[in-house]
């Protein structure tokens, strides 16, 4: 009966790929706009505590981070032990390095922004408060009063 139904075997029509690049570009722009390049990699492991009353950190350009946690397994633990340590920018530091860090971070901003610089303490939940208190004391003495305790939003178990 091929005479009536047409001679050619049926082919699946080709998909129109014309709009594919539009879709990909849309995704591309989305990720381009939300991207923030990570400035320094962490050498300490940090699992922040959970809290329900968290607020979003505003004005990321005015925030400097103080990371506190145990050095990463392997090389870092061999070098710095397994006790909680502070990481400022790219290196494991001591509490006494904080005033210099504060000064550098504050003077890196334009004059008008300097009073609004926030120091975000990103500490592991198993850190002892002794270390955190020392950090707070140093911040206080260096004139950095705006602080922020990093915490993940969520119910505590």
């Amino acid at each position: 009966m091929a005479r009536f139904t047409g001679k050619k075997a049926k082919e699946t029509p080709a998909l129109n790929m014309g709009s594919m690049s539009d879709i990909i570009f849309m995704l591309l722009f989305f990720f381009m706009t939300i991207t923030t390049m990570r400035e320094s990699s962490l050498y300490v492991t940090i699992k922040v505590p959970k809290a329900t009353e968290t607020i979003k950190l505003q004005k990321k350009s005015l925030v400097s981070y103080i990371n506190v946690g145990t050095p990463m397994a392997g090389e870092w633990q061999k070098k710095y032990g397994t006790e909680s340590r502070i990481q400022l920018n790219d290196q494991i530091s001591e509490v006494k390095d904080i005033p210099l860090f504060v000064e550098e971070e504050v003077s890196a901003r334009v004059e008008a922004d300097r009073p609004f610089v926030t120091f975000s303490i990103k500490a592991d939940k198993d850190t002892k408060m002794g270390l955190v208190s020392d950090i707070k004391q140093e911040l206080r003495n260096s004139g950095a009063f705006k602080i922020f305790y990093n915490a993940a939003h969520g119910e505590r178990k």
Binding site: I55, A123, F145, A151
Partner: protein, 189 residues
């Protein structure tokens, strides 16, 4: 006779854009920084005298090195902390053992009773950061609830939805009255 321009071969376009997409997918991390904001007090001058604060105006919360709590010298549970803090800061029935209030003229709100109560928070050097944040979180929850209640009464909406000037007025009426004492050193190795 105008010649037809040959169509551009765009089939590699999606390859290029896929490549870029994959790159940005890998390097992007969506901003998820959340937490609790606090203000540190300025350093005290050397020969500062202890401020004279009445006992009824202080609510002492202590956390020991084993992460246990004391409220005003009694053993307490973290689940009660929010209500205790609210009762203390609000003093709704004007009880004589809870904080005094002072009348204050606040813009947009008029005359308000502002509590003189201060929550004194003291931890040990051996307290875990997790517990400390848990306590800060409960105290924050108490303050946020009270601010929300006042905001509902005065402006008919939640504190978070208020414009800046109104939020500032609420902040003045219900300040974050948390004072942190020097930590004890029992849990330190």
């Amino acid at each position: 006779m105008g010649r037809k321009t040959p169509g551009l071969n765009t089939s590699s376009m999606s390859d290029i854009s896929f490549l870029l997409l994959a790159f940005f997918l890998l390097v992007s991390n969506i901003n998820t920084d959340q937490g609790i904001a606090r203000r540190l007090p300025p350093p005290l001058p050397e020969n500062q005298e202890k401020p004279d604060v009445k006992e009824r105006n202080i609510f002492v919360v202590k956390i020991n090195s084993k992460d246990r709590l004391l409220f005003n010298g009694e053993v307490g549970d973290i689940r009660d902390l929010k209500d205790r803090a609210k009762e203390f800061l609000g003093n709704p029935n004007n009880l004589p053992n809870l904080p005094e209030k002072i009348q204050m003229e606040i813009p947009l709100l008029g005359m308000m009773d502002v509590s003189k109560g201060v929550i004194s928070l003291q931890n040990d050097r051996g307290t875990s950061y997790d517990m400390y944040i848990a306590v800060q979180n409960e105290l924050q929850a108490a303050i946020v609830e009270m601010r929300n209640e006042l905001s509902q009464v005065k402006f008919g909406r939640k504190y978070n939805d208020l414009p800046e000037t109104q939020a500032e007025a609420i902040d003045q009426a219900i300040p974050i009255a948390i004072s942190e004492a020097e930590p004890t050193k029992i849990g330190e190795k």
